[in-house]
Symmetry: C2
Subunit: 463 residues, 2 copies
């Protein structure tokens, strides 16, 4: 027998899409101050939507940056409370000439909605609103208490969200946090994400002589800042590809056999991984598959190097300065600030002769893993399976969403990451799009999830 | 008893300087096509000067680039023939606002002539004209046969001179070549340069994935082009600072004890060298002083590196490409093309996993050493000593003047490098200047040199 929400979703599909299109039309680009009012207007649109659905206390809450949208429905006294997080801000649209249709004029082509924010993250966030609408209209009530926290600064690093949540901790308190801002394994292959890597950024500046020198008059005797940087950076990896910084792996939580089996089940071979990025071979830490390295092993990456002459032809100088940008992706239980300290100590120890080296510590974010067996996580996989008719993978993601760890730390609530986006949907690029198949199946997944969550949590606590 | 040329030089000094100023007023910048006519006009001025002095066949000879000025005086039938090489083209003057007086309006301040080209190389070249004028006016004849080859493309790599000399080999044939385009050790410290390093340039391009990748989604598994470049470049030096490319030192002519003593006599300590460029320590090949490394040891220098993000802050990408510019300075008997081949082989052998590496071979120039004991070289030191009243050093220079080796190869004539410029005279920079003390003493040095050269050569061949 079909669930009652099925027919409601079918009946109201075109209105739901129309309303999503209205949301997508706001050019809510958080990075550009010219769009400040658009960001605010978009927040107000969400408040009107939430009120129309039946949420209470729906408000545009100011922060020191762009506002947060809050709303709640708290009429399930014995049921758990879920905080749903999402973001309504979007990336810039440059280069706009590469878009086949204008980024803020949504258009359906080939079963996909094309618009900036369709996949990241207006589409998935809006699905939560429509899932609750569906449950309220078909059941007259919700199986859980719900609070919304929809921010406007995710694309600029959630700069003010932590201080905002600290100031309103009581209001946002919940038993679990649900986020739909991660990706599936592939089309028709849903995935629960239960871990994210952390981040530690550094800049390294090498200074040699007081100015660039003529390589004829000084070459062989004067220190070369580019060569010194190369020597220093090369000391940070071992020949086998692992990181050579002393203590780097000390706090790394080993990958369990169960996780390795779960990652293997995704069925992405190293060859397929290499092919997908157009290379013949994958260097890196030995003993792990590519997927394991991305999901659950830390890495030290050079994001940029520069120094000396970059023009056409040759210029026979000895560069007096050279620079590198480095970010580490970290896994539990690595501490980003400790990792920065270890790298700084490594630089001090390996400083090449004849130059001075400055280390500047930059952005950090903590790694995060939800306990693999948490019932709210396990139940998410079951909900996917009901809607998609297939096994859901348990994955970790190599990226960093620092706010996830903040939720965990401030609210002491597990974070359930149920994504509906695909890796090739061009978020942060021209022609961003979102699959209507995942819009439809995702709505059903969410209805199943909320309907079954109280029982799943209860049976787990009984056991 | 004073030589008769002394009083002539004193008597005509102000006219000589006025004529030098006329030469310096031509903005003969070879690199800028807008100055093509100025370059030609400057060549014509030299022809008029040479004719007025008494040279014959004075001509502006077209090449495939800027013209060469030729003139000769061949009325000393039993004496050797000397070819005097110099250049009348100059470097650009940017940034022009940093000049205290306009670059093409010569001005004397503090006993120095300030103007573009004053030191490099109009001043020293013009001194040769005035020395021969002095000898002709005071003696009625010259002690040697003389040919002039004054080119207009030295500052742009003497692009067309080799093919020009090949085409006119007969006309330019000589027994020795004399060039005044090198530097002295310091004020009052003349130096005969008897060796120049050669050059071998390469560009290295590393390509990883087909585009930059998100360091979260791929970091740890995907090849990083910047890290691969760093690994590759660091393999080119040993920890002790010597070059690790196999075969690099195979053909290097060892430094003789006599040369080491001569270099030590210059009195430039490693500490003083380090202090002059503002560093604490001098890395590089062990077992040699800084001066020895610059004069007579080969080096492999990174002139520039670039790849990935260079802006403010962080961008969490894995760069898909990275690049390096490399030049080697070479010493006898290294062959620049063989060195390029060795580096290419090194790159092939050490190519990091997961990336492709392209090596592009660029400019080359052969190293050059005049036999240390050649009488034309030894006599140059004696001539300096007569004019400066002090010992002249025998030095090699770390820089490359590829045309020197071409003269040696095409004309099979030794090249005598007697410079009158100082290292701090800002050639290639704003406020170029030339010391009047060296103008005066240099003219006397040249008169002594030409007057005594036939006897010096004859006594050497007798011995």
């Amino acid at each position: 027998m079909a669930e009652p929400f099925e027919s409601y979703l079918q009946q109201h599909r075109s209105r739901h899409l129309e309303e999503l299109f209205e949301l997508l039309r706001f050019p809510s680009i958080s990075a550009l101050s010219a769009h400040r009012q658009d960001v605010w207007n978009c927040a107000e649109y969400l408040v009107r939507q939430l009120e129309a659905i039946g949420f209470e206390h729906a408000t545009v809450m100011p922060t020191h940056g762009h506002p947060v949208v809050y709303a709640d429905w708290l009429h399930a006294p014995d049921a758990p409370t879920a905080l749903v997080y999402g973001h309504y801000d979007v990336q810039p649209v440059d280069p706009v000439e590469k878009w086949q249709s204008p980024p803020f004029e949504p258009e359906i082509r080939d079963g996909k909605v094309y618009a900036r924010g369709a996949s990241d993250d207006k589409g998935p966030t809006f699905m939560h609103l429509k899932a609750f609408e569906t449950l309220l209209r078909t059941q007259g009530t919700l199986p859980v208490n719900v609070k919304f926290c929809i921010e406007g600064e995710e694309e600029i690093g959630s700069a003010h969200l932590e201080e905002f949540l600290e100031a309103h901790r009581e209001q946002f308190q919940a038993d679990i946090v649900v986020i739909s801002d991660t990706t599936m394994v592939g089309p028709g292959q849903p995935a629960v994400c239960y871990g994210l890597r952390g981040l530690a950024g550094l800049q390294i500046d090498v200074q040699g002589a007081k100015s660039d020198l003529h390589s004829g008059l000084y070459g062989g005797a004067a220190p070369n800042a580019a060569a010194a940087l190369v020597e220093l950076l090369s000391s940070m990896h071992k020949p086998d590809g692992s990181v050579a910084v002393e203590g780097f792996y000390d706090d790394v939580q080993p990958l369990s056999d169960e996780e390795r089996r779960a990652f293997a089940a995704i069925g992405m071979s190293d060859d397929a991984f290499a092919q997908s990025i157009g290379v013949q071979d994958l260097p890196g830490e030995p003993g792990y598959t590519a997927i394991e390295r991305v999901f659950a092993r830390p890495t030290l990456e050079i994001n940029g190097i520069y120094g000396g002459f970059q023009g056409e032809g040759l210029k026979t100088i000895i560069p007096c300065e050279a620079h590198a940008k480095i970010t580490c992706r970290l896994v539990p239980n690595q501490d980003p600030k400790r990792i920065q300290d270890l790298i700084e100590a490594h630089v001090r120890k390996h400083r090449p002769r004849g130059v001075t080296v400055t280390v500047t510590k930059m952005d950090t974010g903590r790694p995060y893993v939800t306990p693999f067996h948490h019932p709210a996580i396990q139940w998410a996989a079951r909900a996917y399976e009901k809607a998609y008719g297939t096994h859901a993978a348990f994955i970790r993601m190599g990226g960093s969403i620092p706010i996830v760890e903040v939720f965990d730390r401030l609210l002491r609530a597990p974070v359930v990451m149920m994504g509906f986006s695909l890796n090739d949907e061009n978020f942060h690029a021209p022609n961003e799009h979102f699959s209507l198949d995942n819009f439809d199946k995702g709505l059903r997944t969410l209805c199943h999830y909320w309907l079954g969550l109280p029982a799943a949590l209860a049976s787990a606590s009984d056991a």
